[in-house]
């Protein structure tokens, strides 16, 4: 960690504020609070709406706090909202999402870290070409590749299986992750690397003994990016995972888009929040590490 926020924070950046209600402070906090309003508003609306009953939603406005707090929508969204004949709510999707998430995150990060390491420290003829192609891959719309990948997975016998969806997530996560790891490993001091070479350590030896122990921050970044990306994926899950593995987002779509009579906004909002809880928790826990990891990984070019 070359730049620890704690140490840099001890030095003020601008002119030292003389009193806490200086004009400067008012402007800074004013702007920040304005931004907070923009970022918090949707979360507030989601929570408030999910706690109201339908009659109250129809009469009141979106921002009014609930008069009669009810947890019914949450219960329904989790366990009994219907799509067609199945009235299981989001529950089955949650387990499927976990089953997709864990292997996908582990495998994609394992592969991308080794890739990044090879690209940064063991360049071979053509490695930059492959990396460039990989980067282009980050920009190719998924739609372009949906079709051929269906055929590819069919030939591999992985279509509509857990293995298939894990493979697809690994592939699509590779460009950005490889970029992050490559940049991170490239910033490791040359001397360390050379010393290890002199001691006779090989490709894997250096990776495991020197690189891994010092790369916690970038692993945290990768973990967060992948967790949110994979958890929130809808398109790949609905096409490649197969009905028995449908992730939670597919169930969310099903609940939100099946209206039986009127739209139950409160259930939709509760379902929406339930679906978002896993990545949100990951963020709230590791937000600080995330910024630090980014400082270490993404910032160096």
């Amino acid at each position: 960690m070359p730049h620890n926020p704690e140490t840099t924070m001890t030095e003020p950046r601008g002119p030292k504020p003389s009193k806490s209600f200086s004009r400067r402070n008012i402007i800074i906090y004013g702007l920040l609070l304005l931004a907070v309003f923009y970022y918090i508003l949707p979360l507030y609306v989601m929570i408030v709406t999910s706690l109201k009953g339908m009659p109250e939603i129809r009469l009141g406005n979106v921002f009014a706090p609930p008069v009669d707090i009810t947890f019914e929508p949450w219960v329904k969204a989790w366990g009994s909202a219907c799509t067609g004949l199945a009235c299981d709510g989001l529950q089955p999707g949650f387990i499927n999402s976990v089953k997709i998430l864990i292997p996908s995150v582990v495998i994609s990060i394992a592969i991308a870290s080794v890739n990044g390491y090879a690209l940064a420290n063991w360049r071979f003829k053509g490695s930059e070409v492959f990396f460039t192609i990989l980067l282009f891959g980050a920009f190719i719309p998924y739609q372009v590749m949906l079709y051929p990948i269906v055929i590819l997975l069919r030939e591999l016998g992985l279509f509509a299986s857990l293995g298939g969806i894990v493979l697809v997530h690994t592939i699509f996560g590779m460009p950005i992750l490889t970029l992050l790891f490559r940049n991170y490993f490239a910033s490791v001091p040359e001397e360390l690397f050379k010393a290890a070479r002199v001691d006779g350590a090989g490709f894997w030896g250096i990776f495991l003994k020197i690189m891994l122990p010092m790369s916690l921050p970038i692993f945290v970044v990768a973990l967060i990016l992948q967790t949110t990306g994979i958890w929130n994926d809808f398109l790949l899950g609905v096409i490649y995972a197969g009905t028995k593995n449908f992730p939670m987002t597919v169930q969310l779509n099903n609940i939100v888009n099946s209206t039986q009579g009127v739209k139950e906004y409160n259930v939709n909002m509760a379902a929406t929040m339930l679906t978002g809880i896993v990545p949100l928790v990951v963020y709230f826990i590791s937000g600080k590490l995330f910024v630090r990891g980014i400082a270490a990984g993404a910032v160096k070019g």
């Binding site: 003020p12 406005n61 592969i111 071979f124 590779m174 090989g202 490709f203 995330f290």
Partner: protein, 298 residues
């Protein structure tokens, strides 16, 4: 920045190549292979299933004569440019504000960053709900007594894309802020001290010294934002479904709709090839600049 004398060329190693096999396979089979496949079939008359029935540029002629495609291209251009500029500006300003030795930095940062944890589907749904003229902000403000207040971007064909932008920025600027903050924290303290000694106002220090030093951060950020823009699909689907009418259609949705809903793969492939070409036109100069420069440095 690139350190001089990488050992790479000296220690050519088999393990490195073996380790890179997954990447090479992905690059060649998926990104090159599937893309080439798509480009080839864009010259065919494939309907629901791919067929080798070549028709030259027919799909492209039809594509560029289609109003919906033109609207889609215009929308992604507006959305792309606005989102790129505003993400960078808002992200940087927020980061700079957070970097002023303020109280509750962690709280502020978490608040700005949490939307990034939510999917575009969720983002689209919530903002559709807030911006909906019949029960969202418009109704609330009218309820306060401003009867003439109108804020109906979602229902307005001219402004709907900006309503999508509001939602997109909400979701994505937090990440940009985090990247920028990381960049700011990476700036050497001495630079600040020096500029203070010289009496340079802080805004000038930011603009002329700090930002140029943060070039790598801006590049990474740009890549991440731009990659997201090209793929904008879920957000539109959840927030507007392309409506009202076709006013908020985007290319990725055109591709999807024509491939799967209309069962016209050829047309969808042609549209996706155009997206790809655009990406290449934008990316190639950047790649040449980046890597051309690096080669000279090392």
């Amino acid at each position: 920045m690139a350190q001089s004398q990488r050992p790479s060329s000296l220690f050519r190693n088999l393990s490195a190549k073996i380790a890179a096999i997954p990447m090479i396979l992905t690059a060649l089979v998926i990104f090159v292979g599937c893309t080439v496949w798509t480009v080839v079939y864009s010259f065919t008359k494939s309907r629901m299933l791919p067929k080798e029935d070549f028709v030259g540029l027919m799909q492209y002629e039809r594509l560029w004569a289609t109003k919906r495609w033109l609207v889609s291209v215009e929308n992604i251009a507006i959305y792309g440019i606005c989102s790129l500029i505003l993400s960078l500006v808002i992200g940087f300003v927020l980061a700079a504000l957070l970097d002023q030795k303020i109280r509750f930095e962690n709280t502020f940062r978490t608040i700005f960053l949490y939307p990034y944890a939510l999917s575009f589907i969720v983002t689209g749904l919530v903002w559709q709900w807030i911006l909906n003229p019949t029960f969202g902000i418009q109704k609330v403000v009218r309820g306060w007594g401003f009867e003439d207040f109108t804020f109906d971007w979602l229902a307005n064909t001219d402004y709907v894309i900006y309503a999508v932008l509001i939602a997109g920025l909400w979701q994505g600027t937090g990440l940009v802020m985090a990247l920028m903050l990381a960049g700011l924290r990476g700036i050497d303290e001495d630079i600040w001290k020096a500029s203070r000694v010289d009496g340079i106002p802080s805004w000038k220090t930011y603009l002329f010294i700090v930002i140029p030093m943060m070039r790598p951060v801006f590049v990474t950020t740009l890549v991440i934002i731009a990659a997201g823009i090209v793929k904008v699909y879920d957000l539109i689907l959840a927030q507007t479904s392309g409506g009202p009418g076709i006013a908020s259609e985007v290319p990725a949705k055109y591709v999807y709709d024509y491939m799967f809903r209309a069962g016209n793969l050829g047309q969808g492939f042609a549209a996706s090839t155009m997206m790809l070409v655009t990406v290449l036109i934008i990316l190639i100069p950047w790649v040449i600049l980046e890597y051309g420069g690096k080669k000279n440095a090392s």
